[in-house]
Symmetry: C2
Subunit: 442 residues, 2 copies
């Protein structure tokens, strides 16, 4: 069995296994609130959405599923998130090592990182961060829910735990029918959720760097420098755009005071980057705000974490190439380091493949339904980038459409890391090359 010896092929099989197991559990009559068996496609959709840490739903989580069903969903996205983070980090290290040996381009900083990279310590570290962050956020939320939002302690603890685990794994599932809209005026609820999402969306390599080197910028890897600075820029840009675009919208920010406007614009600048909670009604966003969301969702979060999308580093590498071309510089460089030709082509490949998948799936869904294009495009990017936000059309998709979304969530989550790794593991060497000739482009 080649698959069992090749970790890049093993991971998709493992995820398929988890999805299958989750589907069977959610298919049991005890998984639903009214004790009737869920349709198979509903169980499959929900299990895939959970394992892929997406958060799109065709049925309302708190009213459709029983407590057994809800706990199953939580376990599935905890396993999915942990699995993704572990697999992606190990792949990243494999790929990094492959490059550094072959192309002899490892810098001191990179060697530092690789020295930490044995599998056991990575697993332990991820487990530790998961438990610590989830416990802290769950505790804060539980106390707040119980003391400020009139929940009984048992309910508050369950809500706190579920939302904490969902936030840490960027899963986007909520046990409230309106996600976090009921807490849109409470920074003590939205704040910890945002912080957990921002932290984990950086990806594990950055978290590890932060833990070892704190804020000593000069000691960070290039990967961490790019991810953190681009994340800050994207958060600021998303915040300003959404604030400006929705300021007067009577169905979102319009009726709020300035403080609540800022809080919710910030929250919705963080969420499209992969987490998928909402404190505002996404279906009421203006079209220009939907486009801001398209961009933020497509770019996504940091590599080797629970975030989806093409990843901020991919986006930055592409921008750096464009900038260097326009400045007529031979190398694309950032923070005093130039990018290799290989990484440029990988970034391009990820972006083109993602765009193609998104456009193709959108056209397919438009052809089999008469839903509005802006909603379908939103849904498709959200599924591919495993964000989980929706304008509200998920349940209106016919079975064929739901299957397309299921496949997209799986590919967006598992396909991208395995493909990216396969690419990073390097090129075949041919003993000969074609002569070079260039067409006129542009």
């Amino acid at each position: 069995m080649t698959a069992l010896r090749d970790p890049v092929r093993l991971i998709p099989l493992l995820f398929l296994g988890f999805i299958a197991a989750g589907t069977l559990l959610l298919w049991l009559p005890i998984a639903t609130a009214d004790g009737t068996q869920a349709p198979f496609i509903t169980a499959l959709f929900t299990s895939t959405s959970a394992v892929a840490v997406t958060g799109l739903i065709t049925v309302d989580t708190p009213t459709y599923w029983s407590m057994f069903g809800q706990v199953t969903i939580m376990i599935l996205f905890q396993i999915g998130g942990f699995g993704i983070m572990t697999a992606a980090t190990l792949f990243g290290l494999m790929a990094g090592r492959g490059f550094s040996l072959r192309e002899k381009m490892a810098t001191q900083v990179e060697r530092d990182r690789l020295a930490l990279g044995d599998a056991g310590s990575v697993l332990k570290m991820i487990l530790l961060i998961t438990v610590v962050v989830e416990a802290i956020v769950a505790a804060i939320l539980t106390v707040r829910f119980a003391t400020q939002h009139g929940m009984e302690w048992g309910t508050a603890a369950w809500q706190g735990l579920f939302h904490s685990v969902s936030a840490f794994n960027n899963a986007g599932f909520s046990v409230n029918s309106d996600s976090l809209m009921g807490f849109q005026n409470d920074p003590v609820v939205l704040g910890p959720v945002m912080l957990a999402v921002i932290l984990t969306a950086l990806g594990f390599p950055v978290m590890q760097d932060l833990r070892h080197n704190r804020l000593r910028w000069r000691r960070w890897t290039l990967h961490s420098k790019i991810t953190v600075s681009a994340t800050l820029v994207l958060l600021a840009a998303g915040f300003l755009l959404i604030l400006a675009q929705e300021w007067h919208n009577p169905d979102t920010l319009g009726p709020m005071g300035v403080g609540a406007k800022a809080l919710n614009a910030m929250f919705h600048s963080v969420m499209p980057r992969t987490a998928g909670f909402n404190s505002l009604d996404v279906g009421s966003f203006y079209d220009e705000t939907l486009m801001t969301n398209y961009a933020l969702m497509f770019i996504g979060g940091g590599s080797a974490g629970t975030a989806g999308g093409i990843k901020v580093t991919t986006f930055v590498v592409l921008l750096a190439i464009v900038y260097s071309e326009i400045r007529r510089q031979k190398d694309a460089a950032l923070f005093g380091r130039r990018f290799g030709h290989g990484i440029e082509r990988q970034a391009l490949t990820v972006a083109v493949a993602a765009s193609t998948l998104i456009i193709g799936t959108t056209m397919y869904l438009l052809a089999i339904t008469r839903l509005p294009m802006e909603d379908v495009l939103f849904e498709v990017i959200s599924a591919f980038s495993t964000v989980g936000l929706s304008t509200g059309i998920t349940a209106d998709l016919p079975p064929a459409g739901q299957i397309a979304i299921i496949m997209l969530m799986f590919v967006g989550r598992v396909g991208t890391i395995t493909v990216a790794t396969a690419l990073a593991l390097g090129a075949q060497r041919r003993p000969w090359r074609y002569p070079e000739e260039n067409p006129i482009v542009g």
Copy 2:
């Protein structure tokens, strides 16, 4: 004056001059049908649309403009098309020569092409092709209009000439309020228009290659091989997609017989690639068909011609990189030639810059209007790629929106060739390079 010595800067100034002159002429009271002075923005919009060979209109060409106005428009798009074709071809030759000397990568085939590339012969050749093709198409259309569509010979000749010049220059202007919808069942009208558009949309370097080497494939440049084969694939794909997507649409192909369905699907597969005539009501297209149009318009036609968009070679280079990455090959290659690193980065830069412009302008227009996203996106891609098709919202844009479209048509037409040329003219050499370090992408 640096601008006067540097052709790359001279061209935008020349185009601005033509647009200004056209605006002043169309601003004269004799330019309008009822003899009142057109609003300045209407004259500016129409002049820009004509010089940039786009074809978007805020007023109905045959009813709003007088014969003086219509002739002015025709002269403007003839000058615009000739100017673009000449400038782009000379730039392409400059850039090609720059590369081949510096990087010593000229193949025999390329040297053949460059030997033909002195400016005088290029101008003569373009002029010759223009006159010959326009005369043939005008003659066919005139006879057909007079003998089959009940026009008087004078009207038929004017209609034949106007549509022939418009087709050859990919201008998309029509002297019928409904473009060519009145001829949707006449292959002898739609056919010559399509052929003229396909030919000129290949770009001048390909036409020159075809003239010298006929169909002897092995003697073609890589540029011609890519442009011609990709054009055929795109035409076939567009035809099949539009045929399937609109087959049952009661407002487009639905009521037609199979022959007319095929003719009109073919026509609308050719037109988004830059020409902008329509034989069907674009505003009635299903959303999935609009997406097909987005893709075809964005890709556009051949380099160094009157076609717009990112160009088929740009698109093919990007796909070839993705294919080679997925196959884990070190080089992106096609037809036995590999692409240079420089051309890969140019292609990427063109595509990213185009996408950024389109997304930004769409968000701006959505913010200042409440028009549907699918129509605004269509309009913006059509303007950037100088296609000229519209779902019908052009006249509904407020002045600020019309100015955005004016700027986009200018940038899409003049900006892209000058930027592409500036890029191709080569990189500054720094005496040092940064050390290489690569982030994890994807």
